[in-house]
Symmetry: C2
Subunit: 312 residues, 2 copies
């Protein structure tokens, strides 16, 4: 039993989600930053629709809790800002992935997707502006009002890491591989690479970013990044497993969707029993990476189990 | 007469264009940066198609020549990198603006647009990945091999300025205003704001970025930004004037396109004579801003005249 087990994990996740949403709401208000000419109402509304839609905020949670692991209390505001920036990138990717030219989804979390609530042009621009805003948030030292302001080199490391996780060699590249995989099925190594890019890179970055904000040494940054990689794999495997096994009613969406779309997944390739064993192994691996931090890492270990065991 | 008038301006512009294109080509090769997992071939090809298409490279020229004004010889490579980053942002905006949901253009500079040469999904992702790459280029201090490496605070100022010029309160916001203007005609103040955001912000930033790279004092940065604003206005006004007056054969594209699309422009509102007087005034204003720099500013003054007098 973890000592922190008295506070249910999901309550803690919710509390962090509310904190980052308050910040996201203030970053998406009508207040102009220096150098901005105007914030067009319709674009702002489309951005809010894509961001303030009640996600679990898992990635921001990982940033903030990874920072807290290294005692970044004085830098909590900066950790939240890095978390908000990452969530802007995650939400931009969902807005663009939902477009008719990509996955063509009308609904996300029971609400119309941005291009359905507005139009395609607004959805494209809202995604573009959110991606841009993410770098603005990280690079804006004028907003730095924490007790321990971030050194410029730390901000740069955050921005560079985010760019690399999100771009050509990370998430955007992974989405391209996912699109081509639908008519040119990848082999097992190809599936692993695709998933490491499309969903893994941002989750890995979330954990590493917390360590960067906290000013943790290089070896700890690397350890947290590896932890992030393990739970990124678990996240995707749990998702694929649900698609194979879940009953559609509990999941709240159609199952068997991957197979129908011709998407090869590891869970489909090796079967649900293999996938469950893998998930167990990934949680073990993630937890053992955090052993050096003892009880302080209890929350992050819970996060690893949560990611692997989620049933929707 | 400028002392540098012996070298025709367009030759100088071409030479700088080739220099930045060499860098862009190397940034878009198959070489993986640390942290990148793979560079998917099709995405890379779509990005190259959108970037290496023979533009005038006016914005990169302004970055490099503004840096050179402050004697940034030792930082020439860094000025080129900032210029390449800005060009990535400019090209991403063209790729997304050309999409069917936006301006729906099949051709750009006589070549198929990215969504015509590839498909819409590839064009959306190529734009996303170029925008992301721009911040990677600026924030990557590992690539710093100049004689006078950029301080981290300088890189941060470049990244923040780029984000603010390109995002919600700048270029992306301007594109949204442009789309809404087609069925809700703005007044004169609205047209000016729209243009300052859609095309002005990046040109203003180009000139300011050069001063930032060179480590120029705040007052010079502000002066160069104002110079950029003046030529940004001239750039748009010359464009609008051509649409009203040029003969379609010389322009190589249809004229009267703005009026047909219901786009209000200042040249259409006040007539060509007014527009020509304004252009003359803007070039005067831009040149007088550079008076303190004497003959060293001759190239940038030529750039202002070039922008105002271009006939295609």
């Amino acid at each position: 039993m973890d000592t922190n087990a008295e506070i249910p994990f999901e309550m803690r996740l919710d509390a962090r989600a509310r904190e980052v949403e308050t910040l996201l709401r203030s970053l998406l208000d009508t207040h102009l930053l220096p150098g901005e000419i105007a914030r067009p109402e319709r674009l702002l509304a489309a951005m809010r629709h894509g961001v303030l839609n009640g996600g679990k905020r898992l990635r921001p949670f990982l940033v903030v809790e990874s920072a807290a692991l290294f005692g970044a209390g004085a830098r909590h505001i900066e950790a939240l800002r890095a978390a908000a920036a990452l969530e802007c990138v995650h939400c931009y990717s969902l807005i663009h992935d939902d477009l008719p030219a990509m996955d063509d989804d009308d609904l996300r979390r029971g609400q119309p997707t941005v291009h359905r609530a507005f139009d395609e042009a607004a959805a494209i621009l809202a995604g573009d502006a959110l991606l841009t805003l993410a770098f603005d948030i990280i690079c804006d030292d004028a907003a730095d009002n924490g007790a321990a302001p971030l050194p410029a080199a730390t901000r740069l490391a955050l921005a560079r890491g985010l760019a690399r996780a999100a771009g050509l060699g990370g998430m955007a590249g992974g989405q391209m591989l996912d699109l081509t995989a639908q008519h040119d099925a990848p082999d097992e190594a190809g599936i692993i690479r695709l998933q490491a890019m499309k969903t893994g890179a941002l989750i890995r970055y979330a954990c590493e970013a917390g360590a960067i904000v906290a000013g943790a040494p290089e070896s700890d940054r690397e350890r947290l990044a590896e932890f992030g990689s393990a739970i990124g794999l678990a996240f995707q495997l749990a998702d694929d497993l649900l698609d194979v096994t879940a009953d559609a009613g509990r999941l709240g969406k159609a199952t068997g969707k991957d197979a129908a779309a011709g998407k090869a997944t590891l869970a489909a390739l090796h079967g649900p029993d293999w996938a469950r064993r893998q998930l167990h192994g990934l949680v073990e691996q993630a937890s053992s990476l955090l052993e050096p931090y003892g009880e302080r890492a209890a929350i992050l270990k819970q996060a690893a189990r949560f990611v692997a065991q989620r049933d929707r």
